[in-house]
């Protein structure tokens, strides 16, 4: 990804909109008793489109903004989301995304990882109460919702950041190597 000031502005806007949407919309809807989490999905999208560095930096920024908006302990969400963005970026740098199901699987897996990671950090910070098995159900459902949310999120992010993507040829044009008389 070529990060120009214009693209940087778009990335900042994506981060802000994602955090506001999460806090004011996704966290307040329940499907089968669980709320979806869009933030790991966006971190994965940015990692897949921009690489490990872009994914990690954007994940960190989203986490910082989320913890600030909710007056939570700073650093927890940043740590978890930067890991999701970085791992998605590393995947993109190491493998071809030839199968359209790969982004969905990555979103589901890394959403599970980030939700589990957040729970783990909280447990490490000291939890005296017993943990219900229902938490496992929530983690699983959040992972499924992550994969489903990736279906609209990935093409949308790709469209918004198309100008900065290195490999993507302009739509509707097939490059002609040479012309014969």
């Amino acid at each position: 990804m070529i990060v120009t000031p214009k693209i940087l502005g778009r990335l900042a806007l994506i981060i802000l909109v994602a955090v506001v949407l999460q806090v004011a919309f996704f966290s307040k809807i329940t499907i089968l008793g669980t709320s979806p989490n869009i933030l790991p999905v966006i971190a994965v999208c940015l990692g897949l489109l921009g690489g490990a560095v872009v994914g990690a930096v954007c994940g960190f920024a989203m986490g910082f903004l989320l913890d600030s908006a909710l007056l939570q302990t700073l650093g927890v969400s940043s740590l978890v989301l930067l890991a999701a963005g970085y791992l998605a970026g590393r995947y993109r740098e190491g493998f071809d995304i030839s199968n359209p199901l790969v982004p969905l699987a990555l979103a589901g897996g890394l959403t599970l990882l980030s939700a589990g990671g957040f729970a783990l950090v909280q447990l490490m910070l000291g939890v005296e109460s017993p943990v219900s098995l229902m938490a496992l159900r929530e983690l699983f459902l959040q992972s499924v919702y992550g994969a489903v949310l990736m279906i609209p999120a990935y093409p949308l992010m790709r469209r918004v950041l198309r100008a900065a993507l290195v490999e993507e040829p302009p739509r509707g044009r097939i490059p002609i190597p040479f012309r014969t008389a």
Binding site: A24, G33, S78, A115, S132, A135
Partner: protein, 293 residues
């Protein structure tokens, strides 16, 4: 060239992880008036109106999604509610008699009708943000210190207690829910009387655990649990007496004797919060009530 890229990538990762860990440890170690908390409150103050605007704008879409979920859930709850109505009818009959007796006793003692939450002013707040974790730990509301909301003020809904205020900015406040792992509310079972501490079972917002401190009588299923509202010298519970918490849902004799606890189903559903009421102290300056709950 490739090696340079790899080095840069690793350096960024290490730097970000270090910054996250430093933020985490500094946030814990500094007081609530520290610089990091100050920056956080500044950002929260800026983001508050944006969240509030988004919350209002997205309400129709949210209601639509929740309508589908609630309709699906309502089918399963029909039988359960019919049984509950039957149970409640019997309780209303018993409660009528108790109310008459209570009025007579109050007249004898010259007490007002306000009960335990007299002297508190209710400030209504809209939930504008919610923590996206599986722990159901905090929500953000659109009233803050400018509306006399202070740290440790109890937060209720029409159903019962939902939590307490743990941080404020001028226009927003953070509510730590009774389902958060830091929550512990002193409670008593009525009418049987044993007291204890209500704690959450993490990850399941439909279950609270009442851990007994004093239990010389058997608790039965269906009994109501309310805040105990104790005072001891200068220290006092942040929750006044009598705020409904939940109903005993599972109370086996074995569990009571062995583990000294019973399961409680909370009255308030922390997943469905839209509006809440903060019980503020008139003229309060935000001082903490001894840190006890």
């Amino acid at each position: 060239m490739y090696r340079k890229q790899v080095r840069r990538r690793r350096a960024v990762l290490v730097l970000l992880v270090i910054v996250s860990l430093v933020l985490l440890s500094s946030h814990f170690s500094e007081g609530s008036s520290g610089p990091l908390h100050g920056i956080q409150r500044g950002l929260a103050t800026i983001l508050g109106p944006i969240e509030e605007g988004a919350d209002r704008a997205l309400k129709p879409a949210r209601d639509l999604v929740n309508w589908f979920d609630e309709t699906f859930e309502a089918r399963g709850r029909n039988d359960e509610l019919e049984a509950e109505v039957q149970d409640l009818r019997e309780r209303v009959t018993a409660a009528d008699a108790a109310t008459k007796e209570n009025e007579q006793l109050r007249q004898q003692l010259d007490l007002g009708p306000g009960g335990g939450i007299a002297g508190r002013e209710a400030v209504t707040g809209r939930v504008i943000g919610r923590s996206p974790t599986v722990w159901y730990s905090t929500v953000t509301i659109d009233v803050g210190s400018s509306s006399d909301v202070a740290v440790d003020d109890p937060v209720i809904t029409g159903d019962g207690l939902v939590g307490r205020i743990t941080d404020t900015t001028a226009g927003t406040a953070q509510v730590t829910l009774i389902t958060d792992h830091r929550s512990a509310v002193s409670a008593t079972v009525v009418p049987s009387g044993p007291t204890g501490v209500i704690k959450p079972e993490l990850g399941d917002p439909d279950v609270l655990l009442l851990d007994f401190i004093e239990n010389d009588r058997q608790v039965r299923e269906g009994e109501t649990v309310v805040t105990a509202g104790w005072t001891s010298g200068r220290l006092a519970s942040v929750f006044p007496y009598g705020i409904p918490l939940g109903r005993v849902s599972e109370a086996t004799a074995g569990e009571q004797e062995t583990f000294d606890l019973v399961h409680v189903e909370p009255f308030a559903d922390v997943r469905e919060l839209d509006f809440v009421e903060v019980l503020t102290e008139p003229g309060g300056d935000g001082a903490q009530n001894g840190g006890s709950q």
